[in-house]
Symmetry: C2
Subunit: 206 residues, 2 copies
DNA sequence: GACTATTGTGAGCATTAGCTCAGGTTTTGG
DNA sequence: CCAAAACCTGAGCTAATGCTCACAATAGTC
């Protein structure tokens, strides 16, 4: 394969409706193909084929393959209930409810298309901008959780920042794993266990 | 790239010492190259180059690229303190100590070469045998943890199996993440938080 | 030294996949 | 209705990479 075009801007921006439509078909097809075949085997030709457009058109709107996955990821973050749960109830006594809300949120998010999410999480190429975008978002969420921790009276913890990172990552990864490879265990069971783990962590002091 | 040789056996088994030496140099070089460049960019030619042997020799002892990573993974599992902590102290009152032992174990394991481990965990190709081997190993560890849970008197939990999976995965992934991208947080802090999380989870009942 | 088994070599084959570009088709504006 | 802009096409270029194979070198044996 030739050296990837590292440009981030496409060579053309859609001005007519049909162009915008083409762009959307490409993204839809890409989401399907990546979910089905993974990143490496999800070739641009396959994406074009599924989108029923020519490979040339694909490269009119995306500078390279990475940019397509990147766009999907950004869309997911933006659309995301990932950002959801902005106003969480911090009033005393509702810690478990708050934790459950966060976890429900994660579960919802991974319900859409776990296979695509798996590709984005596990196989996403490491572009500078992308990493930063995801990082920023992660920091935001971590800050949210840290606020919950510090705001709650019952929590006696060492380092709220470390705890926040720990919780965020734990919830994300466990949810991801559970949704990606569903066991014969009902979601409720999983949810309850995870809620218990985090809640007890936060409210415990022994 | 041509279709990979799906054979598992190499075409030649080392009989002389120099051959065994060559094999080891290949593995050592592969470990370095995979850690440095990742799986995809860790080409067989690069491995051969670093091992200072010809590409031909490499394919004398490994049927294909996948087999090299597979061998490294198996070595890691076998050598592994991954299996360690066989006889854990289940006596009452030492739950925290037990949990800490498990977590220390994980930390030790990820101290060797986190970058190589990252490749093995995140980029390892999906060969049937490999997956099974790793699965078996995971099940063993999960069973260990489940035993701890059920053996311990203070633990009131919903589903011990789900809990065991949850704990195993949580410990592994968090440790992996921490060791792979070390923050300006000392390991002790991380360890303590993780221990607190799991211990409180197991001993909590609210 | 001679003969065989084992080991090592590396140019290059085969294939793949990202991406280009010269030219055709459709839409828009006047 | 016509010209220009926007859009679409797809054969094929380019480069990368897993892997082969005919041959050379070395080690073991008598």
């Amino acid at each position: 394969m030739p050296p990837a075009d590292r440009r981030l801007e496409p060579r053309r921006k859609p001005r007519q409706v049909r162009a915008e439509l083409t762009r959307e078909r490409i993204l839809a097809a890409a989401a399907h193909v990546f979910a089905e075949h993974g990143y490496a085997a999800g070739t641009t030709n396959r994406i074009a084929e599924r989108a029923r457009i020519s490979i040339g058109s694909l490269y009119q709107y995306f500078p390279n393959k990475d940019a397509i996955l990147a766009e999907l990821l950004v869309q997911h973050i933006d659309r995301g209930t990932w950002t959801g749960a902005d106003e969480l109830d911090l009033s005393p006594g509702t810690l478990e409810a708050t934790v459950r809300a966060i976890i429900r949120d994660a579960i919802d998010n991974h319900s859409d298309d776990p296979r695509l999410l798996r590709v984005m999480i596990e196989e996403a190429p490491v572009s500078q901008e992308l990493v930063e975008a995801v990082d920023r978002h992660g920091k935001l969420r971590a800050a949210q959780i840290r606020d919950i921790i510090t705001a709650h009276p019952d929590t006696h913890l060492g380092d709220p920042d470390v705890a926040a990172d720990l919780i965020l990552f734990t919830v994300e990864m466990n949810t991801h794993k559970f949704m990606a490879a569903p066991r014969n265990v009902p979601v409720e069971t999983f949810e309850n266990e995870l809620v218990a783990m985090i809640t007890r962590y936060l409210s415990g002091d022994r």
